[in-house]
Symmetry: C2
Subunit: 367 residues, 2 copies
Amino acid sequence: MVKERTRADKRPAKKAAPRGKAPAGSACRQSVDAGRERKVSIAQVAVHAGVSVATVSRVLNGSDAVREPTRSRVADSIVALGYRVNQLARSLRTDESRLLLTMVPDIGNPFYAQIVQGINEAVQARGYDMLLCETGGRVDHEKRFLELLHTRRVDGAICLDPDTVQQAQQSEAQRFPWVACCEFDAHAPVAYVGIDNRAAAREAVQYLVSRGHSRIAFVNSDMRFMYARERQNGYEDALRQAGIAARPDYSQSVNGLDFDAGQRAVARLLALDLRPTAVFAVSDTLAIGIMRGLRDAGLAVPTDMAVMGFDDISLASQVSPTLSTVAQPMRQLGLRAAELLLRQLDDPQARVKGIRLPHRLMRRESA
Amino acid sequence: MVKERTRADKRPAKKAAPRGKAPAGSACRQSVDAGRERKVSIAQVAVHAGVSVATVSRVLNGSDAVREPTRSRVADSIVALGYRVNQLARSLRTDESRLLLTMVPDIGNPFYAQIVQGINEAVQARGYDMLLCETGGRVDHEKRFLELLHTRRVDGAICLDPDTVQQAQQSEAQRFPWVACCEFDAHAPVAYVGIDNRAAAREAVQYLVSRGHSRIAFVNSDMRFMYARERQNGYEDALRQAGIAARPDYSQSVNGLDFDAGQRAVARLLALDLRPTAVFAVSDTLAIGIMRGLRDAGLAVPTDMAVMGFDDISLASQVSPTLSTVAQPMRQLGLRAAELLLRQLDDPQARVKGIRLPHRLMRRESA
DNA sequence: CTGAAAGCGCTAACAC
DNA sequence: GTGTTAGCGCTTTCAG
């Protein structure tokens, strides 16, 4: 694999000329900035403080093997020179980048966005930084996952994508610390955090049944997703328990999770010979699209058709009628996933198990 | 199958033998793993191909100073060994990390999420990776901005945060390549991409006026944001042009942009002695919250009160009634911002100017 | 064309 | 306690 470097000049140029990227434009070289040079190395700090680089390094890393007068002298020099550690160099040496990777299918989806917020929170709190990769569900993009792990020496990854879980089984990804979030395989040797999708879906449908519905449709998304398969199971469980025969034509599958996909599903729902009285969608965005489609068709929710969603994105309580749904603790999902990963990083021995977070049925106006 | 690898064997072997090129020839190399060892360095490739590391490096970087037989021999070894460049080492040497930073106030907001998608797209296409920092608008978090730039030797940044723009003026950030997105100061020596907020707001209000409204309220958010100030100007422009006296109590300011903030604003709107007949909110999320609040208060949109938003997030066309708003090209905003930055990186001399993208009035049901 | 060698900035043995 | 020093993996003169 040959990489092409297109970048112009940029030669390491010893101390001759100041390196660094001159900002575009005029007088790249400002007047000497009160001693705060662009690139200060540990060596310069050492000279300034009259100690060796090793000592500076010790101070930097909080080693207790440095006597007080020395320590503060070094500390002063660090401040005086405006020194910053070069994480690149440190990482190269320690083989630990303090970088985490988050792979997400679509941050445009509020559900995923909130999870990423949770991850971000945990990660920042621990002094790590987060690389974000949006895959768009495309498998080839997930290849970059492995590449980055190697290439950037990323310490670990949190993955919200379905396929990665599969790949992980046989690929070398297995040798890396990573945790699955939302999409997981409970039997795979990989930590995860998620909810009990089957039970959650079952409860949602049971609720619909309890409201007197027996003609309940199900709008699902890509079966590549584990949650899609599990929620389908839950849907069928509930029908079975209620003694309702499952009608294959009541189970619709759409591509994607966006509003439009929901709207499109409506047409098929309404074309059914025996029209359902309720719909359960695997995501709020889908459900909202469905409500929109129903409205366009002149039908009222929930009287003409009840609608139930999944996730409880903040939007769910804003639309009209407000959307009944199953709440997932998005932020927590991300937070816990990150913490799991971090713990695994701290102690490789710790055999971290998967955890399930609770879901909750939200009764609102749409069903 | 390969056993789950532990962090321990990844580390520099604290207690084990002093470092050195131990791995080069030792036993672990002959693992059953078809030669695909975890860490293959350029040196190993060199040995395998019977050339020097310099030559391997040349091949890696597409230098044309390598004769064909040699080149393909090296290429073969690279594949055979499963070699991957260590970007850390390369970056340390070249002082170029191929890492970009995106600073965003809140990815939970669909508006920002979409911009980030645009950024991600452009960045990935060019082989860069993106570090994502959610600041939550807190200034201290923005400090990390500068730190990362140094610390990780990030090549550049795209900033959606208001305060950074300010800081940039006097801080050393000025010496780094970065571009402002959405929030910018046209007079600052920093590239930017955004829309003409003042004109856009003016048009929105003019539209309201054209629909016969003269009692038009304005719900704004944090005035720390440039867009907030500019849209306020636009609002006032339009009133002035229409010969409508601006009533101070018609201009409301709320904290944040989420739905709840919008809902809260409604109370104040309804408490006004002379109730407005239309509201213009600076964001769709705010507008949707307002519609929700209005509905709760038993008022109809647009008959009792017309509502106009800003952004045109995908949600805007889903709610009921559908939301009239001013569309911003979110994805393009992010894409162009990233491209601007990348271009600046390619050619530091290029004095990249700011660019304005077009907005568009979306007439829908709410106003 | 290719190789030898000097570092990039930092950490961690191993001295002293 | 503190200093010396050997690299981490890579790019890039500078020789040959």
